[in-house]
């Protein structure tokens, strides 16, 4: 009997340890980025790092490590993506939740599931072979590998997230809300715009935040489709290099333990904090929403 108890206890300890593993990994990632990233600041001034616009680690003589251009590039490409994905995503979500019948809704949901499953390298490939030439032709440019291309691809990548979470939020709105609205003489469109969507607003915000998180962290699509010019972008037709793409290009070639190596971890740390911040906003909105409901 006692042996049995010890065995049960051991099993519990095992599951507990695997249970808290997620916390350990998250802390581990954070510490790893911090420790490696901070090493870069032995050689690079903090202000130069955050506000310098020139990233040129291999410059002859004086190398520079300013990340402002790539931070701006990341946000610009993400902003462009959201300008496409938010209206398209919420529109589709509203269609599935409010208009489509059961059958069409199921088909659309599985189509969105398939879209979510397409690897990012494939979307990047589509950016090179289809979207790039298309942009070049329409806008009469020599190359279609630019910020606009990246935005279009990131929109495609974040659409499944935005659609499925928004759709869930819209569908969760109690029928009473709508019935009350109809009783007041509103038609279905007015009810959707004035009642249902505002009621589902926090869920929609969460979906957008997670979509933004997805877009900011995407690597392969932007790496393949934006042209990777490490300079401050002036328009969506400029070639840009995002934080993720810079790490992806340079990490493979940089010698271990150099300032350049550590600087890339510092860029990773910035990226980590940005995406954590975006997630945190989503969490806070969710918490507030749940608090109000119960």
């Amino acid at each position: 009997m006692n042996l049995k108890k010890i065995k049960e206890k051991a099993i519990y300890v095992f599951f507990f340890l695997t249970g808290i593993l997620a916390v350990i990994i998250l802390l581990g990632i954070f510490l790893m980025l911090l420790i490696n990233g901070l090493q870069a600041f032995k050689d690079v001034k903090l202000l130069d790092f955050f506000f310098g616009t020139v990233w040129n680690p291999s410059a002859y003589g004086e190398s520079s490590y300013g990340i402002l251009s790539m931070v701006v590039s990341t946000f610009m490409v993400t902003l462009g993506a959201m300008m496409i994905a938010v209206p398209l995503g919420i529109g589709t979500a509203a269609y599935i939740a409010e208009i489509a019948n059961q059958r069409v809704g199921d088909v659309l949901r599985s189509i969105i599931g398939i879209l979510a499953g397409i690897p990012s390298v494939v979307i990047g490939f589509i950016g090179i072979v289809l979207v790039g030439p298309f942009i070049a032709k329409v806008f009469n440019l020599s190359s279609g590998l630019n910020a606009l291309n990246g935005s279009i691809l990131l929109a495609v990548m974040s659409l499944p997230t935005i659609i499925s979470i928004s759709e869930g939020a819209i569908r969760k709105i109690p029928k009473d809300f709508k019935i009350a609205s109809y009783a007041l003489g509103a038609n279905r469109w007015t009810t959707l715009i004035r009642v249902t969507i505002p009621a589902a607003f926090s869920g929609i915000i969460v979906s957008i935040m997670l979509g933004i998180g997805r877009a900011i962290g995407e690597t392969m699509t932007v790496l393949m489709a934006t042209g990777n010019a490490p300079a401050m972008p002036h328009s969506f037709f400029d070639s840009v290099s995002t934080m993720t793409a810079t790490i992806a290009i340079e990490m493979g070639e940089v010698p271990y333990g150099t300032t350049h190596y550590y600087a890339l971890f510092a860029v990773g740390a910035v990226l980590f904090i940005v995406s954590l911040g975006v997630n945190l906003i989503a969490e806070l909105v969710t918490a507030k929403y749940q608090g109000r409901r119960t």
Binding site: T18, V23, L33, P119, I128, N187, L223, F265
Partner: protein
Amino acid sequence: MKFNRIKEIIGFGLLILSAVLVVLILGIIIFDIAIKGFGAISWGFLIDFPKEGMTKGGIFPAIMGTIFVTLITTLFSIPLGVSAAIYLSEYAIEGRLTRIVRAAIRNLAGIPSIIYGLFGVAIFVQGLNFGTSVLSSGLTLGLLTLPWIIATSEEALKTVPQSYRVGALALGATKWQAIRSNVLPYAFPGILTSSILGLSRAAGETAPILFTGVAFFIPGLPGSVFDQFMALPYHIYILSTQHHAIDQVRPLAYGTTLVLIAIVFLLNLAAIIVRYRFKKKYYI
């Protein structure tokens, strides 16, 4: 009144249009790759090594490399992920610690894949001295897949009716016996389905393996877990951006993309079949 009706028609029209657009996006992607990729695929393409600077030959080592690395990911992330899910669903008491664990899982799921790549370099390649290898890449992908496996397995465990647990406990079973004999079998199809889906995503990932073990070209298959490997997603990246004759190898890039998509779809199909078959068996 009439004005409102017109607004409704236009508004609903726009919603339908956005849904059609989303379907069209997927349609264009699949159609383009299927049409242009199909021509490149032959038996030889699947079982040959690349030849003449990757301008001819097949993608056999890339297919094997992807299978190999996904296997290590499986061995690492599924036992750990399912155990963590068992803890959260069966043992954990809802409190501060559990809330922190759940928040950590959600945040891990939101971390960019390239950060996992950096972590893999610092921990597996340098720290544990596994070098750039199948093992380092497999473990890195395992970490990336872990939050997904935990979250979806917990969902599966939560669908098991409470009476299954108390029934076993009432018969004198210990907690673990109850979990093993009454909870896990019932949750198994759900866990299997979500595991397959998680692995299909890992198989298509590129960023985490970029600097942890994947290679441009290696003349043979990896002989051990400490060797470098070729992988389908990286092969697509190389053929479409880094190759010296990009236009010449475009058909090969299409072919490789079609093979990768086919693998991802087959895994998804397997997940659907598992769910369907077990549903019938258990009358869920």
